[in-house]
């Protein structure tokens, strides 16, 4: 479909309109200063968005739950536990996290639990206007602006150069049919044709603010050329505590395990699934005890291979890393993406 462009003078206008038809989810700051996605946010709460407010937990859990029941067995029949939800709008998703949802849409395309949640969700993306603390989205083609096939509505701040801050102007793009439908009943002025071009110009300005991440590109090449020596993976893996933080926070990590939980009261059994981690020794261990990745070094290598290997391009059309840098923040062993890629570049260059 061709995208429709509108002028929006106030975020609150769109927010209030959507709240009539959707449960509103936004990034909210709590009294301890933590920023996280919260649901059923009161309409008068202005959203946090953009590079200064990338939450530590991405929106992944809204579609691929950290822990959910799949089906129940009462001794005679199996009953699917379908997620019950009403339409909801995620307001203010950053480009990197939208790219990750796009990636997971493919991984979970036949997963009824994921799809049930996805179908009920309207994604409202907001362009970032600068680099975030640990981010490098341009390197992996995941930002800083929202790709038009990654969201239903896209907002871009056209007020960046103005100083008064009172009058705000936003470009609103209805990027999907769902997005167009969501705007029904909202009176909006069409945006001038050259705004599409202006947005591209803004993008160039924003890109210029990013630091030099050449080492990441270089290291991606080393990984794909098989040039990272096993000793380096071993050196890095000694620092992996197998906490599972990287895989939990990685917005594209999608591995899960299942387990049967018995409820003695009702004498039934529920099969649940929950986030798993390839960094656990038991992740690939087979029933015989054989483990294709029994060394921590193999598990570390495997993780980065899954994030940066060309082998996955045919299936997903992109790398498994969206450049959000969350692994760098959460890794107790200091082997997040920046440290690892820098180390690979240094070591392999020598």
């Amino acid at each position: 479909m061709s995208n429709q462009l509108f002028v929006l003078n106030e975020l609150a206008l769109l927010q209030k309109h959507l709240a009539k038809h959707y449960e509103l989810y936004q990034i909210v700051r709590d009294p301890q200063g933590e920023e996280a996605w919260q649901e059923n946010v009161p309409v008068d709460t202005l959203p946090l968005y953009g590079e200064a407010h990338l939450p530590l937990a991405s929106a992944k859990g809204f579609f691929f739950a950290q822990n959910e029941g799949l089906y129940k067995f009462d001794g005679e029949t199996f009953t699917t536990i379908k997620p019950k939800l009403s339409p909801r709008a995620l307001f203010g998703v950053q480009a990197c996290d939208l790219t990750a949802i796009f990636y997971q849409d493919q991984f979970f395309k036949d997963d009824p639990y994921y799809q049930a949640r996805r179908e009920q969700s309207l994604l409202v993306g907001i362009d970032c206007s600068g680099p975030c603390e640990k981010g490098f989205c341009p390197i992996v083609n995941a930002g800083p602006q929202v790709a038009t096939d990654h969201a239903d509505l896209i907002l871009s701040n056209f007020n960046q150069e103005q100083q008064d801050g009172l009058e705000t102007t936003w470009l609103l793009i209805a990027a999907s049919n769902k997005g167009v439908d969501s705007l029904q009943g909202l009176k909006l002025e069409k945006a001038p044709d050259n705004w599409r071009h202006l947005r591209s110009e803004f993008k160039e300005q924003v890109l210029a603010k990013f630091a030099d991440f050449t080492y990441i590109n270089t290291s991606i090449e080393y990984i794909n050329d098989g040039l990272v020596p096993p000793e380096l993976w071993e050196e890095l893996s000694v620092r992996c505590l197998a906490c599972s933080g990287c895989t939990n926070l990685c917005p594209t990590c999608s591995c899960y395990a299942t387990s049967d939980q018995t409820d003695s009261e009702s004498n039934s059994q529920t099969t649940v699934r929950f986030w798993d981690s390839c960094q656990f020794d038991g992740f690939q261990r087979e029933a015989s005890g054989h483990n294709p990745s029994h060394l921590a070094a193999q598990r570390t290598e495997r993780f980065w291979f899954h994030k940066f290997s060309d082998d996955y391009l045919p299936e997903f059309g992109r790398y498994g890393c969206v450049g959000c840098g969350r692994c760098e923040q959460t890794c107790p062993g200091s082997i997040g993406v920046h440290t690892v890629m820098r180390k690979i570049e240094q070591q392999c260059c020598n």
């Binding site: 975020l11 936004q26 990034i27 909210v28 700051r29 709590d30 009294p31 301890q32 200063g33 933590e34 920023e35 996280a36 919260q38 649901e39 059923n40 946010v41 009161p42 709460t45 202005l46 959203p47 946090l48 200064a52 530590l56 937990a57 859990g61 739950a65 950290q66 822990n67 000694v238 620092r239 505590l241 197998a242 906490c243 599972s244 933080g245 939990n248 926070l249 395990a257 387990s259 939980q261 409820d263 929950f274 798993d276 981690s277 656990f280 020794d281 038991g282 261990r285 005890g289 923040q329 959460t330 890794c331 107790p332 062993g333 200091s334 440290t339």
Partner: protein, 724 residues
């Protein structure tokens, strides 16, 4: 930029997800953890980027918290054992029963025939209530908790040398140290986020020295690893002090201004010459010199230690030897330095601070001091206990002698976690009434006469104190399930049933905190509002230090000048011989916590449990003809268990190691309860064992199966003996 207002949970529809920021319930690091709740259950957790300690990180235990507190395995109602079976009863019936029995024992045998074991897993408020209940309601000083078997020697040792037994510095100081010295601690497994900080500091250029009989993860990345022989800590530490004094590497100014006892110490450590120390400890002399130089010559050196120092018969002296080293080098009282015991449990620091120890009231005010007793008696409007109290092991021993009737245990599983399991079980069986307040049916709870359902950390308000003395707010995320109640409420209601409800009249946890702070000089400046505002405050917090104290002993020590106290190398109570040729030590695994009652409910963490629990150097195994994963029987003078061996290069030949988390093969069948005389700390880190291969096709039996089989055999054996 648009700033959103805070969204309070009350404004939200009941069905939606809410995030409540609290404190991780596992180790003493005290990480921030976001509890995501849905339909009254914690379904997910989130890491918290803004938390001063964890900064967006959690360990595998923290990430799996939701499994550990799920309502499926919880004790739902008060239970009273009748003819060997637990029967559900209401709270009034259970409490009336306990009150009636306790009153009877106190009348018949005196107040010292009963006692309380509080929980280092519970809040400061719960612990304050527990010691008040013992001292003011029961009128006994028989109050203790598991610090007995982790850091009681730290409290006792550092109290003598510095005047205060807690971590002197902050976790943040790891990043400010030029040299980090880790002795007898495995922080990447047990205090993962601190372990990670240490690895990070090392990457940025700090020097790392590890002193440990095992090749821990930190030892693998260290600049220097002194792999000493088990139990030779004092020889090694005295040897280091001797080198430093001989080379003139000591901090002379600090010694003259801030310490006393140098002459005596110098004379005594002269008996620890380099060559001899190297031989006794099994380390290279040049490594000892290198370590002594690095540590003493650094501008800032951060020293951390753990159970590898305290869990010995020489535990208190080991701590004193550590203290001597730091004092001689003046590595204390400044940022990036300090003597830093890494506390094991989420609130073991707090349980000590709150006076859940027989010899001290809150804030370490001596129970032997008449003025202290008078102060508390006046504040509480009642008479308080006078006689010295018993430690947990003391209570157990007295019970076996028939002199101790009843114990209330909060959230501990001594049958699995205390040394010499068979003796502990005998002590418990000898009680007339055991009351266990627990989340789930632990091995100890199964042996109880009354079991009460407790509320977990996510179901209560209160505070935990982490290892760096930071008092942090624990926020309630969900309501207690079924009939479960918070510890302090249980105690207050029990006091009421005993006719002394007026002593514990609190309506909420904050009122308890206020009462405690009013009676405790180190906490007098603290309030919930300040803790909220500051994301936790480190004690002492009072008029002199209104915002708390990240670094202790900057200008003076609580005892004025610090004391250097000469201590001699003491052999372990047991060492290998022909009958029991191997050393056995204990360790912990990153994935599991304590008795495993919470972490083993996570299918992910349970999957990480190794299929064998006895770690052995491959050379030892090959010498005995044992293949990896071979089933073996392990025997000490105290017990026997079966498990599989796991080859591990972490160990030196001659040394075996077992984690203690697993009830099917509990290391405490084997461990020695020989004690440090001052603190009654048992020697959990060293005993002698032998092992033999099981028949090729035999699976290792669980301890339950072994005991059952023995009960069938024993009468026969006894009969034979009688016949003979």
């Amino acid at each position: 930029m648009h700033e959103s207002a805070a969204v309070s949970p009350q404004n939200k529809p009941a069905m939606s997800k809410t995030i409540v920021n609290s404190i991780c319930p596992f180790c003493g690091v005290g990480c921030g953890i976001g509890l995501v709740t849905e339909k009254g259950q914690v379904t997910e957790v989130q890491a918290l980027r803004n938390h001063p300690i964890s900064q967006g990180q959690l360990c595998s235990k923290g990430w799996n918290t939701a499994f550990g507190i799920n309502p499926r395995d919880r004790i739902t109602h008060p239970l009273i054992k009748q003819e060997g079976q637990f029967v559900k009863v209401g709270w009034p019936q259970a409490l009336a029963h306990i009150a009636d029995k306790l009153t009877g024992y106190i009348r018949g045998y005196g107040a010292d025939s009963v006692g309380v074991i509080s929980s280092a897993r519970a809040t400061n408020e719960d612990n304050y209530a527990a010691q008040k209940f013992a001292r003011a309601v029961l009128k006994t000083n028989n109050i203790d908790h598991c610090a007995r078997i982790c850091h009681s020697p730290s409290v006792a040792g550092l109290k003598q040398t510095l005047g205060s037994g807690a971590m002197t510095n902050s976790i943040d100081d790891v990043d400010k140290a030029e040299v980090i010295l880790v002795i007898g601690a495995d922080p990447t497994e047990n205090h993962a986020i601190i372990g990670g900080r240490i690895m990070g500091a090392k990457l940025r250029g700090s020097k790392l020295i590890v002193i440990d009989p095992r090749v821990t993860r930190l030892a693998q990345v260290a600049d220097l690893h002194l792999q000493l022989k088990l139990g030779s800590n004092i020889a090694l530490l005295n040897g280091l002090v001797n080198i430093i004094l001989q080379q003139g590497w000591q901090n002379t100014e600090f010694l003259s201004k801030r310490c006393e006892g140098l002459v005596e110490l110098q004379a005594q450590v002269a008996n620890y010459p380099l060559d001899e120390v190297a031989k006794v400890c099994g380390v290279k002399g040049e490594d000892l010199v290198a370590a002594a130089k690095l540590y003493s010559q650094a501008n800032t050196a951060f020293l951390a230690y753990g159970m590898g120092i305290t869990q010995f018969v020489s535990g208190t002296n080991n701590v004193i030897a550590v203290s001597n080293l730091a004092l001689v080098c003046g590595q204390i009282g400044r940022q990036g330095t300090g003597i830093n015991p890494l506390r094991g449990q989420n609130n073991v620091q707090g349980a000590c601070d709150m006076g859940c120890l027989p010899n001290v009231y809150p804030d370490y005010q001596s129970a032997a001091d008449e003025r202290v007793r008078a102060k508390f008696a006046k504040a509480w409007h009642t008479l308080v206990a006078i006689e010295p109290g018993l430690t947990s092991l003391g209570m157990s021993n007295q019970a076996r002698k028939g002199k101790f009737r009843s114990q209330i245990i909060f959230g501990e599983d001594p049958v699995v976690t205390d040394p010499d399991q068979n003796k502990v079980a005998q002590g418990i069986k000898a009680l007339d009434m055991l009351v266990v307040v627990e989340l789930s049916m632990t091995e100890t709870a199964k042996m109880a006469d009354v079991v009460l359902p407790a509320a977990c950390f996510a179901e209560k308000e209160g505070t935990f104190t982490n290892c760096e003395r930071r008092v942090q707010l624990v926020r309630q995320a969900i309501a207690p399930p079924f009939e479960a109640k918070v510890d302090w409420k249980i105690l207050a209601e029990l006091a009421d049933f005993m006719g002394m409800g007026a002593l514990m009249p609190w309506q909420n946890s904050e009122q308890i905190f206020v009462e405690m702070a009013n009676l405790s000089p180190s906490f007098s400046g603290m309030s919930y509002a300040l803790l909220e505002q500051q994301q936790g405050v480190q004690w002492p917090c009072n008029e002199a230090q209104p915002m708390g104290s990240p670094c202790l002993h900057g200008h003076t020590f609580p005892i004025g000048k610090a004391r250097l106290i000469p201590v001699e190398q003491t052999p372990t109570a047991e060492s290998p011989d022909r009958q029991y040729p191997f050393w056995l030590t204990t360790n912990r695994l990153h994935y599991h916590y304590g008795c495993g009652s919470m972490t083993r409910q996570s299918p992910l963490l349970e999957r990480e449990t190794p299929d064998g629990l006895l770690f052995i150097h491959p050379q030892d195994a090959r010498d005995l003809g044992l293949v990896d994963h071979q089933a073996v029987g392990v025997r000490s003078r105290r017990g026997y268990l079966e498990t599989r061996i796991i080859y591990s290069e972490q160990l030196a030949p001659g040394l075996l190691s077992m984690p203690y988390h697993f009830k099917e093969a509990p290391s405490n069948q084997l461990t020695n309860d020989a004690m440090d005389l001052l603190t009654e700390m048992p020697e959990l880190k060293a005993c002698a064992v032998n092992l033999q291969a099981l028949d090729a096709n035999r699976q290792p039996r669980s301890i339950g199966e072994i005991i059952e089989a023995n009960q069938q055999i024993l009468p026969l054996v006894a009969g034979t003996r009688t016949a003979l």
